[in-house]
């Protein structure tokens, strides 16, 4: 399954480069408090019981069906001996008691969001998870409420209304907490919403500030401290003047992805979605600040710098994918960078203090550009690949869902590599100019997607990326999309799942697949690992296909929906799986003599 064009895999004990990450807030090694585990978004666990040597013995220890069946994209959280789950709509929350046999429900909570939200969510009623901070489980409801539950009791502590769902605003992203603030953003890039990221007070849920992705500098929280690296992003009110009159108000730039935080500079980093409508001829201009990244002061929300990945995004490439904060040496100089695999199929390494693009190399097949000009930061767009209204354009690569979608990457300091599930896709697209009708799609892209490698070609891939060299260390081709998050561990085993339901463990250095388990539904969730109360290392992942993976639902073998959490351990052991958990009262003498197992 190794791709021939990949560089030589790492040998045992070798490190590809000197990449390092800050693992703040340094939660207890066996716990997992936020979706990315740390501020830098590494999704790296220091647990090392499961290694290349024993991973083949992974078996299911227990499982849990949450009773919902739409796309499951979240990772479970573990704090102490409790596991927290949130489901897709209707956004139920569960606390499971890991100290008891079979991890029974400690409490559950039904926030009862309005069913109206179902029809306003562009791409399934997903939820990308919760965060635990200050004894509270905080997550977003599809109908635009952020809620905080008492992590001990499941009692609702506060509920803040963030938007009007009837106009097409929904919320699917995972809140990101730093100290006494929690950051949340909206979804609805296909419905002409006005994108924003807001900071709420963890204690009360009170909104502290809200930064929009378009509009005047005041709307965007751009002040005197704003210093973008490139000249074309400097100027007054660019969030308004790079749009035809008035169109910025329905210009999307939703914030439905991930937030990172650098404690040294007190900056948060996050991306914004595609501009609306998706038909570019309706909105000449760069359409700032859509399909872009912001660095903001975590306290005040003031923007420090920004960079637009895809100016005047014509293909729905967004800029919401995760930003992994790393420190590495480039051309002999130590640089503080962020690594971002954009949907536009380029892997960007940006100087995270200035917003300068240090490198931008394609990680998936693309034909929309001749590359990124590092002097200006501008992509060199291929003219023939620009859609025109009512004209069918074939084989645009990558398609709207990108060379990689929101599914986050993982970083291992043991190898210096970044691991990510990616796509190998193209689209045929016809643009239909759209009316803005509140609460309906402001979209206009008629599309079909197919493998970039021909009719029988693979749709997915799992890769290890060397952020210093800007190339793949190894890659694994998958027939189905790889739309799960990645998990890296100190045991040098990396985990991912496929849309057809295979959960795999891979050698972090060589890329060798060491173990695979077929689960009940497809996997588009984020795997995580934790230490149980019995000090055993477990690996957990949701199985429940949905979301953008449904673009491949016509593939033969595409699994049905589901909603089951699987928890694995070596040999499937848990304190409660040993013989003799219950006494059996037999009556037949033969049974009695053999001790009869249940």
């Amino acid at each position: 399954m190794q791709s021939p064009d990949a560089a030589a895999p790492l040998g045992p004990g070798r490190v590809m480069n000197d990449a390092r990450a800050n693992f703040a807030p340094n939660d207890p090694p066996g716990e997992w408090h936020s979706q990315a585990r740390d501020y830098a978004n590494t999704r790296y666990s220091p647990l090392d019981q499961i290694t290349a040597a024993n991973v083949a013995k992974l078996r299911i220890a227990w499982s849990f069906s949450d009773g919902t069946s739409n796309g499951h994209e979240a990772a479970p959280l573990v704090v102490g001996d409790t596991m927290y789950l949130v489901t897709p709509f209707p956004n139920l929350a569960y606390a499971l008691d890991l100290g008891k046999p079979g991890a029974p429900i400690k409490w559950s909570y039904d926030p009862k969001p309005t069913p109206l939200a179902i029809g306003k969510a562009c791409c399934d009623t997903v939820n990308r998870g919760a965060t635990v901070v200050d004894g509270k489980l905080i997550y977003n409801l599809l109908d635009d409420h952020t809620i905080a539950l008492d992590a001990g009791t499941g009692k609702e502590l506060w509920r803040t209304k963030m938007g009007d769902v009837t106009t097409g605003v929904t919320m699917t992203m995972a809140p990101f907490a730093v100290g006494n603030k929690v950051y949340v953003g909206n979804s609805g890039g296909e419905l002409g919403v006005w994108g924003w990221l807001a900071a709420l007070d963890v204690k009360t849920g009170k909104e502290l500030w809200r930064a929009h992705s378009s509009g005047t500098d005041k709307d965007v929280l751009i002040g005197p401290d704003f210093k973008p690296f490139y000249a074309w992003m400097k100027g007054r009110d660019l969030g308004k003047t790079t749009w035809p009159a008035g169109m910025w108000k329905t210009g999307a730039g939703a914030v439905w992805g991930w937030v990172s935080y650098d404690p040294e500079t007190n900056l948060i980093y996050y991306g914004t979605s595609n501009p609306g409508p998706r038909v570019p001829s309706q909105r000449p201009g760069y359409n700032l600040w859509t399909s872009a990244i912001f660095a903001r002061d975590a306290t005040t929300g003031e923007a420090k710098w920004a960079y637009q990945f895809t100016p005047h995004d014509q293909w729905d490439y967004d800029g919401v994918n995760e930003n992994v904060l790393l420190d590495l040496t480039i051309d002999g100089k130590p640089r503080k960078v962020l690594v971002h695999f954009d949907r536009n199929a380029f892997a960007y390494t940006l100087d995270r203090t200035t917003g300068e693009v240090l490198s931008a190399k394609p990680f998936a097949y693309q034909n929309w550009s001749h590359g990124i000009d590092l002097k200006t930061g501008m992509p060199k767009v291929v003219a023939e690949m620009q859609p025109k209204p009512n004209v069918k354009l074939s084989n645009v690569c990558p398609p709207d869902i990108g060379g990689k979608d929101w599914q986050p990457a993982a970083f291992s300091p043991h190898t210096g590599l970044v691991y990510a599930g990616i796509f190998n896709l193209c689209m045929n697209v016809t643009d239909h100019p759209q009316s803005y009708i509140p609460g309906t799609p402001y979209d206009g892209m008629e599309m079909t997607r197919h493998s970039a490698s021909g009719p029988k070609g693979n749709w997915g891939e799992f890769m290890a990326w060397d952020p210093v060299a800007g190339k793949k260390a190894w890659t694994i081709k998958e027939q189905f999309m790889v739309m799960s998050g990645a998990l890296a561990t100190a045991g040098d085993v990396v985990f991912y799942g496929t849309v057809d339901g295979w959960f795999r463990a891979v050698d972090a250095r060589s890329g060798k697949v060491l173990w695979s388990q077929k689960l009940s539904s497809g996997i588009i969730a984020q795997p995580m690992t934790y230490l149980g109360p019995d000090k055993r290392q477990y690996v957990a992942v949701y199985s429940g296909v949905g979301g953008a993976a449904m673009v491949s639902s016509a593939q033969p073998g595409f699994p049905p929906r589901g909603g089951v959490l699987y928890v694995f351990s070596i040999d499937g052991d848990s304190p409660h799986s040993a013989p003799g958990m219950l006494t059996t009262e037999g009556t037949a003498p033969a049974l009695r003599s053999t001790g009869g197992k249940p």
Partner: protein, 238 residues
């Protein structure tokens, strides 16, 4: 409401206008203005501006249509007269074309897909209808919206336009003829053979409608309806 009548009468004045030129056109316009003013002044009803349905053709009135039950509530809903209302535009090729245009221009395709095979919203071609698959039910779903995010298109779209969209949906073959409301409720597919009069769900010749209905395609096993609350979403993962 006799404002209707005023409007119709008003029409008669207005129809003079296109053939008029210059002076006489101005005269006609003034006449119209006068008529409108009378109309405005003469109508005592004040309902805040948005709720009154106002069909301007003598097609099945929207008020009757909205009495179509939402679905098999408690299993007792009868097929009322309203459920059997035929679509005045059934089998009208031009109306089907206009309905398809509206389907795309009114952003229906954004949710239900180009080709109506589903997306954010349900598939409209597969014979599975959460809220009823006879023309009157489909009309009603568009007219007043549905609870899982389907917007109400009254009063944005005139009733004739809604009927044209219904005609387009009927042309896709997944709907039920007007007289088969009961069949839909009981899960029978158009074309199913119902033994004897046991169920009496698809009684032949019960249609009191002389309007020919499009022949709905028999359900195919592979198009078994997605019974999920949310249809598969070929969207982009947000």
């Amino acid at each position: 409401m006799n404002m209707w009548r005023v409007l119709r009468d008003n029409d008669v004045h207005m129809r003079i206008v296109p053939m008029a030129t210059g002076e006489s056109r101005r005269a006609a316009a003034m006449l119209t203005l006068a008529a409108c003013t009378m109309l405005i002044a003469g109508c005592g009803r004040d309902h805040g501006g948005s709720t009154a349905p106002a069909p301007s053709q003598p097609d099945p009135s929207a008020e009757v249509i909205t009495s179509v039950p939402l679905g098999p509530v408690a299993g007792a809903a009868q097929s009322t007269l309203a459920t059997r209302l035929p679509n005045p535009y059934s089998n009208d090729a031009q109306a089907v074309q206009q309905g398809q245009d509206l389907y795309i221009k009114m952003n229906c395709a954004g949710c239900h897909g180009y080709g109506a095979k589903g997306g954010m919203g349900p598939n409209l071609t597969d014979g599975y209808w959460r809220y009823g698959g006879v023309p009157a039910s489909i009309f009603n779903s568009i007219y007043q919206g549905r609870p899982q995010g389907m917007p109400a298109w009254n009063p944005a779209l005139p009733t004739q336009d809604i009927w044209k969209i219904v005609a387009y949906i009927q042309s896709l073959g997944g709907s039920y003829p007007a007289h088969l409301y009961q069949a839909w409720m009981q899960g029978d597919k158009p074309g199913d053979v119902v033994p004897g009069d046991v169920a009496g769900t698809v009684p032949p010749g019960t249609s009191n409608s002389s309007v020919p209905e499009p022949k709905a395609s028999p359900a195919k096993p592979q198009s078994a309806p997605a019974v999920n609350d949310v249809a598969p979403a070929p969207g982009t993962g947000k």
